[in-house]
Symmetry: C2
Subunit: 672 residues, 2 copies
């Protein structure tokens, strides 16, 4: 590249873009770690985007109607941090850049949404930002339909790299965006032809232009270092009803000795090469020094949206108080006041009628009373609507001609669905839930982890949660998936035993502000075990005594979900033999672990009682409730699965694998 | 559809295809469960494939040079079972079909490779079969290059549905196949425009033809009920150097009242509708009755390949004894005899030189001695070759012009890589290993589970296995991933402490015939802790006493991987204070659990010693080794992670999260 010609052609642009490149080189050198090449390659695109297109106000990074900027190629985090510093975001003083990748800094190795207001999402695991962006753009469409374009009218811009486009989730994302004509979604592909292992051709020769077109996108191809072409493409991208992909031909690590090589992807820290690159840019100031005029020009960009922001403020103040209150409530992730009363009334009715229902059907019943009072919920399923019981009558189907629809047919795309749901929460104003078979949490797993890490309360409705799935067999029968979700920090895993516990789990999930929830629900019918109505949400305590021992307590059975019924039957048999047996229902281990010790001791008292855990899943995660605690040992056993399931009718499988009251009774007697 | 016209146009074909449809209807009705529509829709395609193209010998389903037939749309399992019965596979008598989806039957809800020889792979989780098939086709290319086309020369045929094509992994698979010009891979897309939720358009409007072309495929479009078009397309598909996708326009549940509806996807059991469908086919025999002439015609098809098989047998007997022995050894998954001696010699050398190495680098050293003596190994990485240390000098790179290459640049496709590796093992003759960052086991997860379920010894090389990854931060730092793999049945999770244990882990992984291995390897350097050479593979016992207590044993420290060093330092400090401390290295919990109780008791004796587990990961899975056993309680604690990590230099993170010898010593003293 002839850098001098570039600089000469547009000196104002060049100096602004160079500021990004210089800050990147300096920060990576200071950290002796990081990824220099991507910010250096995409500096021109980002500069034009921020200068001429992105609607934002650096002094108000939470402005709800800002355009969203998502750095899907999260390893290039210094691009984002440089921009935020340059435009005057107060959370990104120079000190932050100097502390790049150091403990306590906002400038983490990859962008983390919970560290700074202007970081829209957490990226790094490739493809996730792109898949989030589909949710951002859907949320914008939904809210624009709901509140009008005076209140909601913004674009979602994404920078994605070759890695994002190779990950399978990108296909799920772009086909969803194309299907739903998310015309306000604009993806800028950093087409630099370099991955860590070498040139892209080593592993991929996809024609990305045709690929995106096949998914219903508008595709533009530009020189990613030509500001006029960038500007024209962004202008064009905003037109029409299709999402747009701009293929930006760039040079990774532009101007550095490592330009156009896979070495350029990583940390460029050699002092001489760094100086040579700066010299080639015509950049003469010291490390972390931005010429005052350049900084000023960038700060002007940061203020560009202030007037528009003020006008928006006037407009939102003009809408009805009710609408505005709802808008603000949803953005704050506050549940409506009447949710609590609604759940209580529902519980009362259900404990009286005591239906025998699969908990997936219980879940639908809960949603039938919740969705009408929570306009911010958006439901969906990865092509298992009838099985996941996720659709209620009032929602309407989200579609090109019905943006007010609150139900999404996600297709067979568990990963794309989950990532997009995370994006909806991050956008604000939406509380999404989505279903699939619990076994296919495997597909959704990268997004489920990020929900937990990002502290977003996405709800994963995972039905057919054990061998109770029956004939479809072991490929569809979860055995390790409860353990997997429970192993993940900041995740609530609910396995309700009946309709009442299902309602309680939903109440917690729908009021959570920073923790995702996994609802583990049965295919098969379960009796109502909570027939005595209590206003209190017992599930919120994680575990509680469902049935007390009669006589001396010799056995404590701890069970979840469909196995609570097994525990109750075993208790009957044991009591009939004069063995006092307590049954503890444990719908949420994480919440039980959060209770104070006094409560936990009341539910699971130390002593000589035999403990048996019952769950149609692997034992991993159970020993903390079964084995020794506080220096005392318990005689304990577990009834569950220690292998994969099998294809047969469900009742036969419970017999075959010994998850029965008879097994529980026999094990208890052995221990006694 | 005018069924009469179809029948009249080609009565021989029609009766054969109808046999599949009738058996499907009967089996699903008998099971009162299953998926009728797909086999009924694809019966014509499958009939032509089996009759005129598929190279197979029904009496020898394990013939190594057979064409592979993969039913990626696994819910349509009755298509496969019907075919296998019809062609005379002895494992599929009529009785099996009558027991469809019942306990103990080979005819599970979804095809399970371990239940019958002719079932090539386990499908059901959508997209997996298609992604496996890339590995099958790569294995064929590799072996054809290695042994010549007289011994290896076959096609891989796949039936995939809309669900397979919507899953992201399909994009990873088809771009890999296109990149590598896997010309002998032929995918028949069941283009029936129906998913469970409704028509495909509800969730997807992708132009699949352009999409596959953008990935470098030949695409043909046909009427999937016209035998001449099917035959011509299959003939054309076998030509040229590109993989081929045949878009077969079909009617789901052809001829049934539920034809062309999402209801047709499921179990069609209504007796009247079933009879009506059979009448429409002109099928007059009772349930499970095949007219003798039709069965005979099918059995002739089953014998069609016998002569070719015999000729092949002559050809393989003509190759050199050495080559043939190698071929057969690799297919039997037998390790070469000298592997054991090679590993022993390596261990001896390393225990003497005692290098300080990251275990990912130790792993590379092991591969350097193993790959030259195991021509069946195929290495690779999901674009992290230099970080995963998976490439050794002798492998060569697999490419269009180097089919003998044994290293695959998989690109940023963890899921596609893992599924393809499973396919390679299932094909036979190849022992694949592939690397990524351990955190991204999340992306590979659906394939890792299937490896365990399918009982294939794929090796997953997962490096950067803790907060030791450092500055890249929590998106890249696994904390729950050891627990996730350990929760999965039939999976060995190795977390070696040094070069010696790494070699031992590899030895087990490379000799395993039915269990996949996860190698959890560090980014950061570790000292050699096994400086005293032992021929015996101590890792095979799962855990062992690495350092014995001096004086009365008061503390047992149990650690894995990088935390063994922490344990040894803590032991030094405790011993200095006169506290006898044993250190147990536990590189593989699953293997330790498999040891007899006497051995386990020797390593972890019951008694009053305090136990502390140390692992830079979540505690889940540890309590079984720490808490009460055999009715005795242990004072126990755990030093590890109870939250996500952070972005900072690695050493600082171990301090920050308290994973240090100081913490261990302090906790031990509290418990004492």
């Amino acid at each position: 590249m002839d850098l001098k010609a570039l600089a000469k052609a547009n000196p104002d642009h060049w100096s602004k873009a160079t500021a990004i490149r210089a800050l990147t080189l300096d920060a990576v050198a200071a950290a002796n770690s990081g990824h220099s090449g991507m910010p250096m390659g995409m500096a021109d695109v980002a500069t034009v985007l921020f200068e001429k297109h992105l609607k934002f106000d650096a002094s108000a990074p939470n402005w709800p109607d800002r355009d969203r900027f998502i750095l899907s190629a999260g390893h290039g985090s210094m691009l984002l941090y440089s921009l935020l510093h340059l435009v005057g975001d107060v959370q990104f003083p120079l000190e932050e850049l100097k502390n790049f990748r150091q403990a306590g800094a906002r400038t983490a190795g990859h962008p983390e949404n919970f560290l700074a207001d202007a970081i829209e999402t957490t990226t790094g695991p490739l493809g996730q930002g792109l898949a989030n962006s589909v949710g951002f753009a859907m949320a914008e469409e939904m809210q624009r339909a709901q509140y009008g374009r005076k209140v909601v009218d913004h674009y979602t811009y994404v920078i994605a790299g070759d890695g994002c486009l190779m990950e399978g989730v990108s296909q799920e994302a772009i086909t969803l965006a194309g299907r739903h004509k998310l015309g306000k979604l604009i993806v800028m592909w950093d087409n630099n032809n370099i991955t860590i292992d070498g040139t892209v051709e080593l592993s991929d020769r996809t024609d990305q232009v045709s690929r995106f077109k096949s998914a219903g996108w508008q595709v533009l191809e530009i020189d990613g270092h030509n500001p006029e072409e960038i500007d024209a493409a962004l202008t064009q991208a905003k037109k029409g009803s299709k999402p747009t992909m701009i293929a930006c031909k760039t040079h990774i690590a532009l101007g550095h000795a490592a330009q156009d090589t896979s070495k350029g992807h990583g940390a460029l820290t050699d002092p001489e090469q760094l100086q040579a690159a700066k010299a080639a840019y015509g950049w003469t100031t010291g490390p972390f020094e931005i010429p005052a005029d350049v900084k000023l020009a960038w700060e002007e960009i940061g203020k560009r949206g202030a007037a528009e922001h003020a006008e928006w403020q006037t407009r939102i103040e003009a809408i009805s108080n009710t609408k505005r209150a709802q808008f603000e409530r949803a953005y704050a992730l506050d549940a409506p006041k009447k949710l609590s009363a609604t759940i209580k009334a529902f519980k009362k009715q259900m404990s009286e009628s005591a239906p025998k229902l699969a908990t997936r059907a219980s879940s639908e019943k809960v949603l039938e009373v919740v969705n009408p009072i929570m306009p911010e919920t958006v439901g969906g399923s990865a092509d298992l609507t009838g099985s996941n019981n996720t659709k209620t009558g009032d929602l309407g189907v989200f579609d090109v001609d019905n943006r007010k629809g609150r139900y999404v047919y996600w297709g067979i795309r568990e990963h794309g669905m989950s990532s997009a749901m995370n994006g909806m929460v991050l956008h604000g104003g939406i509380r999404p839930y989505g279903g699939t078979f619990m076994c296919f949490t495997d597909y959704a797993r990268p997004a489920m982890r990020l929900a937990a890490l990002m502290q977003v309360p996405t709800v994963f409705v995972m039905t057919h949660d054990s061998i109770g799935l029956g004939e479809d067999g072991p490929t569809h029968q979860p055995v390790e998936h409860l353990a997997i979700s429970r192993a993940t920090p900041n995740t609530y895993v609910f396995r309700p035993a009946d309709t009442i516990e299902t309602a309680e789990a939903w109440e917690i999930a729908l009021t959570s502000k920073s923790t995702p929830s996994v609802l583990s629900l049965t295919r098969q019918g379960l009796p109502t075990v909570r027939t005595e109505h209590k206003n209190k949400n017992l599930t919120a305590q994680g575990a509680y005594v469902l049935a007390e021992a009669v006589g001396k307590r010799q056995v404590i059975l701890i069970a979840t979900g469909s196995e609570v019924e097994v525990a109750l039957k075993a208790r009957e048999a044991l009591q009939a033999d004069g063995i006092g047996t307590r049954v503890v229902s444990m719908p949420c281990m994480e919440l039980f672990a959060e209770q104070d010790e006094a409560y936990r001791r009341r539910v699971l008292p130390a002593g000589s009682a035999v403990r048996i855990g019952i769950e149609a899943a692997v034992r991993q995660g159970w020993d903390q409730w079964l084995l020794g605690e506080r220096g005392r040992a318990n005689k304990a056993d577990f009834v569950g699965m220690d292998r994969f399931g099998a294809s047969a009718p469900a009742e036969e499988l419970f017999e075959k694998f010994g998850i029965t009251a008879e097994t529980v009774v026999a094990k208890a007697k052995v221990l006694l």
